[in-house]
């Protein structure tokens, strides 16, 4: 059985509702976490993310200024911040298929529908911590691999192009400078 030392992790909880933040803090402390930071909207959440560099972000979706989805899109920018690979758990009352798909395509690591329970949150956290997925970077997506498992009955075409990438060899600048003419 996997055991998690929650006191070795730093959490950032982003939710505009103070009651929900208190519940999340209570649950995380119950699991053994010590470092739990809070932010009350997407803008404050991004600032806290930059300042505290959390290991795991738990964010609501519906928030003023910019929402959880927009926040996630800002975090999942390679090279734009200290940790674009951070684990993000979207905790929301939105549970419709369209919403879940949108969160997945914005790079969410786990999705947890409200109402929240200690068991549900714990399971998502264990999955995030003990079974990290690789990241996929394409022209249109950057985030955790959306293929959680191999479907042996899948009969459609392979959408990802395999093989080696086309590499156009560039002569080093020094060689160009030295080259005659």
């Amino acid at each position: 059985m996997v055991r998690i030392d929650f006191n070795r992790l730093r959490f950032l909880v982003i939710d505009d509702n103070a009651h929900m933040r208190r519940i999340l803090r209570t649950l995380l402390h119950g699991f053994g976490a010590r470092e739990v930071y809070e932010a009350e909207d997407g803008a404050a959440g991004l600032e806290a993310f930059t300042h505290h560099v959390p290991d795991i972000v738990i964010t609501d979706w519906a928030m003023p200024i910019f929402d959880g989805l927009e926040l996630m899109q800002m975090i999942r920018q390679p090279g734009a911040n200290a940790n674009p690979y951070v684990s993000i758990i979207m905790l929301t009352g939105h549970s419709e298929k369209k919403r879940v798909t949108a969160a997945r395509d914005a790079g969410v690591t786990e999705f947890l529908a409200k109402p929240i329970s200690a068991k549900g949150l714990y399971e998502r956290l264990v999955n995030v911590i003990a079974n990290p997925r690789p990241f996929i970077k394409t022209k249109t997506y950057f985030g955790p691999d959306r293929r959680r498992n191999v479907n042996p009955t899948y009969a459609g075409p392979e959408r990802r192009k395999g093989g080696k990438a086309d590499v156009i060899r560039q002569a080093p600048l020094l060689e160009k400078v030295r080259a005659p003419g």
């Binding site: 996997v2 055991r3 998690i4 030392d5 929650f6 070795r8 505009d16 509702n17 009651h19 929900m20 519940i23 209570t26 649950l27 995380l28 402390h29 119950g30 699991f31 053994g32 290991d55 795991i56 519906a62 928030m63 003023p64 940790n83 690979y85 684990s87 929301t92 009352g93 939105h94 549970s95 419709e96 369209k98 879940v100 999705f111 529908a113 409200k114 109402p115 929240i116 200690a118 549900g120 949150l121 714990y122 995030v128 911590i129 003990a130 990290p132 690789p134 990241f135 996929i136 970077k137 394409t138 022209k139 691999d145 990802r160 192009k161 395999g162 093989g163 080696k164 990438a165 086309d166």
Partner: protein
């Protein structure tokens, strides 16, 4: 399970990269067995939440009041985006929190209000009377929650509100098949894992 090794790596393929970032969470994975008498973390968290539950009644009260204030502002300010968003967030928070606070029957009425606001194509077309009926229903269900027949009454009330709301939304979105699919389809179970 042994902690994973640091396997930071990038593999480049035809149209994508597979990146295995440094696993910064590995530090928290422990192989130590639980100590005798050590409490399960989920049980510990549930106990902490139970200790907090004495406050849930007053939190529910303030959430209902917030919804009522948002409704008043929405009616008074002439359905601008800001007041509509505030009303939606108040209903949406209740939908997500009511069960945790011990009032699960309130969540369905709040959910119906969320649907009404979200799927009405034009903010100015959101029917004031139906909004009022939803807010009043939420408050009444909460207020009468201690009654023995409260859950049955709440289910009846919510079912009627939902029927009227769906009828209105289906008419309003008659030219938008993608939205209609969501309205009708949202009655089916979501794909969110339990």
């Amino acid at each position: 399970m042994a902690p994973r090794k640091n396997t930071a790596a990038i593999r480049t393929f035809g149209d994508h990269e597979v990146i295995v970032p440094e696993n910064k969470l590995r530090k928290a994975v422990s192989t130590k067995p639980m100590m005798p008498g050590e409490e399960d973390p989920v049980a510990r968290a549930e106990k902490a939440l139970a200790e907090l539950s004495s406050e849930f009644g007053s939190w529910m009260e303030s959430e209902c009041e917030r919804l009522d204030n948002a409704r008043r502002a929405f009616n008074k300010d002439g359905f601008d985006k800001e007041s509509k968003d505030a009303l939606f967030r108040a209903a949406h928070d209740l939908k997500g929190e009511a069960a945790t606070f011990g009032y699960p029957a309130v969540a369905s009425a709040a959910d119906s209000l969320c649907r009404l606001i979200e799927y009405t194509p034009e903010t100015t077309r959101v029917p004031v009377k139906l909004v009022d009926q939803h807010v009043d229903a939420v408050r009444a269900i909460y207020r009468e929650y201690s009654r023995s027949d409260a859950k049955d009454l709440a289910a009846l009330l919510t079912s009627r509100l939902r029927d009227v709301t769906d009828e209105f939304l289906i008419y309003e979105n008659r030219g938008r098949p993608d939205v209609l699919e969501q309205i009708i389809g949202s009655a089916s179970p979501s794909i969110v894992p339990e």
